[in-house]
């Protein structure tokens, strides 16, 4: 009897490299994210997370390597994938002079959303934006803007969602509600989420897989529980600090080989 083939990963990155003149920002990065799961790229500033996300989105062209999303090659057929993806980042704004509703209407048009007014109303309610919908985006608080950016990212009910700091600027209560919303969204739609976050508690809660980056490379990866166990730490934040400060596993556990001791090809340069 033939075995059922596993579905292709929603995101597949293969030997992805980005260099700027003499700076190697991302160095032969390979990973995949299974459909219906949440994965995180973690790392200090300049580790290459944003560069990697930008290449997955097609905003940045890789020097070498391939990216496919939903089985679609992002270098050659990006416009076939973009309607099924979306993105949110606190570092990319929505026009401040437009009201929240106007911004969402414009993006509903760009994504070809049917019954846009209804979808916008749903999102406003779910993300607690109803009271601010007719205010210019520039007058919203940082937390309200983060929720608006998330509403924009969810307008087209994407199969793949790339989120940079999805709960930045949110109070703990709102942050928790957004995490619950994202979990529900992922589970009901079998959506795939790749996020970059410095909130380790968030990553522990949302992600089944974590890729730790330093100097443009994945230096370790696994589930949050696996990483915590492997590094003998109490939480993911301590694991992050070990990796960011280059404290090798082998230094603390001489019987284990640290991620930096795997070979000379690990030594990339950060952006």
């Amino acid at each position: 009897m033939a075995r059922a083939e596993a579905p292709p990963p929603a995101i597949r990155v293969s030997k992805l490299t980005k260099s700027y003149d003499d700076v190697l920002a991302v160095n032969r990065l390979s990973f995949s994210v299974a459909e219906g799961t949440t994965a995180a790229l973690l790392g200090g500033n300049g580790a290459g997370k944003t560069t990697t996300i930008s290449m997955i989105l097609g905003l940045l062209l890789p020097t070498r390597g391939r990216v496919s999303v939903l089985g679609i090659d992002m270098l050659t057929h990006r416009y076939d994938a973009l309607p099924r993806m979306n993105f949110s980042s606190p570092y990319v704004d929505l026009p401040k002079r437009l009201t929240a509703r106007e911004n969402l209407k414009v993006y509903a048009g760009l994504y070809g959303i049917g019954r846009a007014a209804r979808r916008i109303g749903e999102l406003a309610e779910e993300l607690d934006l109803t009271a601010f919908m007719d205010r210019p985006s520039g007058t919203l608080s940082a937390g309200q803007r983060t929720r608006l950016a998330l509403a924009k990212a969810l307008l087209n009910e994407p199969d793949v969602l790339l989120l940079d700091e999805p709960t930045a600027s949110l109070d703990p209560d709102t942050g928790d509600r957004i995490r619950t919303y994202l979990e529900t969204y992922r589970d009901t739609r079998r959506a795939t989420i790749l996020l970059a976050s410095h909130n380790m508690a968030e990553v522990e809660r949302l992600c089944s897989r974590v890729m730790m980056m330093r100097a443009g490379r994945i230096v370790d990866q696994g589930s949050p529980a696996e990483l915590i166990r492997r590094y003998g730490r109490a939480n993911l934040e301590d694991v992050f600090l070990d990796i960011a400060r280059n404290r090798h596993l082998a230094d603390r556990h001489p019987d284990r080989k640290g991620p930096e001791q795997k070979g000379p090809e690990q030594k990339g340069r950060a952006a």
Binding site: Y20, L98, T99, Y111, G112, G114, R118, E157
Partner: protein, 277 residues
């Protein structure tokens, strides 16, 4: 849930027109909520027309030429403003995206660069009409001169100057993508580089031969020469129109290619997410 974008619904002429409409809507929302932006569109064309109108009245009292060809200066002012505003209309709409740090969102949406270019040019045409029509109407009231009396040739002149302005504007947008907001001032002065050679206020024949050759490769020169032929000689020169159309076809093709090349360069250099205030 009600929204989901259908895969098939993102292709084809209908989807393209819907995305272009969405971008135009984005600028309509912006202008609707910002009266200084609307005022800016009509302010300079109106002031220019008032000044040059009085100059025309003064010159007409001193020169038989201006009595015979009444309105030639006012028409030149208004048509020059069409060219200037068409260029500025493209680059200012693009600058709005840079100022608001919105390019990252736009370029991860299904909006294609060609559709973005179409929206920029459409907005440019709307901006030109908002800017120039009040000035043209004011000229009728103040000086009893109507540029609309030119009739159908006016449409040809207007269209050619629009297209030339778009070409310049698109190249400026490319430079803005490559060099960021440090190159913002180019948007304001780039088109003025062609003003001395476009035979706007004086005929081509007053230029030295070598300069006439340079002027000849500008579509605007053929438009303004054509305008004088209509107003002074009362003839419509189809040869000048054909020259302008051919040159504009080349200009627009090159400018779109330049825009796309700079867009690719911005993607190679990782500039799109960095562009901002």
């Amino acid at each position: 849930m009600s929204g989901r974008a259908a895969g098939a619904g993102t292709r084809g002429a209908f989807a393209t027109s819907r995305r272009i409409r969405a971008m135009v809507l984005r600028y309509v929302y912006l202008y609707r909520g910002s009266w200084p932006r609307i005022l800016e569109m009509a302010y300079w064309p109106t002031l220019q027309m008032i000044m040059w109108g009085f100059l025309t009245i003064f010159l007409a009292s001193k020169s038989g030429f201006f009595v015979q060809a009444a309105g030639v200066l006012i028409a030149a002012v208004l048509l020059w403003d069409v060219l200037f505003r068409a260029s500025l209309g493209v680059s200012l709409s693009f600058l709005e995206e840079m100022w608001s740090r919105n390019l990252g969102h736009l370029f991860v949406s299904p909006l294609r660069p060609g559709e973005f270019v179409a929206a920029l040019t459409l907005m440019s045409a709307i901006r030109v009409l908002i800017g120039v029509i009040p000035a043209a109407l004011l000229a009728i009231w103040l000086y009893a001169y109507s540029i609309f009396d030119m009739g159908l040739p006016l449409i040809a002149f207007f269209a050619n100057l629009q297209v030339m302005g778009w070409s310049f504007g698109l190249v400026v947008c490319g430079l803005l993508m490559r060099y960021g907001l440090g190159a913002e001032s180019i948007a304001w002065f780039a088109i003025f580089a062609v003003a001395p050679f476009s035979a706007i206020y004086y005929p081509l024949s007053v230029m030295p031969d070598w300069l006439q050759w340079i002027a000849g490769i500008l579509p605007s020169t053929h438009v303004f020469e054509g305008m004088r032929a209509v107003l002074v000689d009362e003839t419509f020169r189809t040869d000048l129109l054909i020259n302008a159309l051919a040159l504009n076809a080349a200009y627009l093709t090159v400018s779109v290619l330049v825009f796309l090349r700079f867009f690719r360069s911005a993607r190679e250099r990782g500039l799109i997410l960095q562009i901002g205030e």
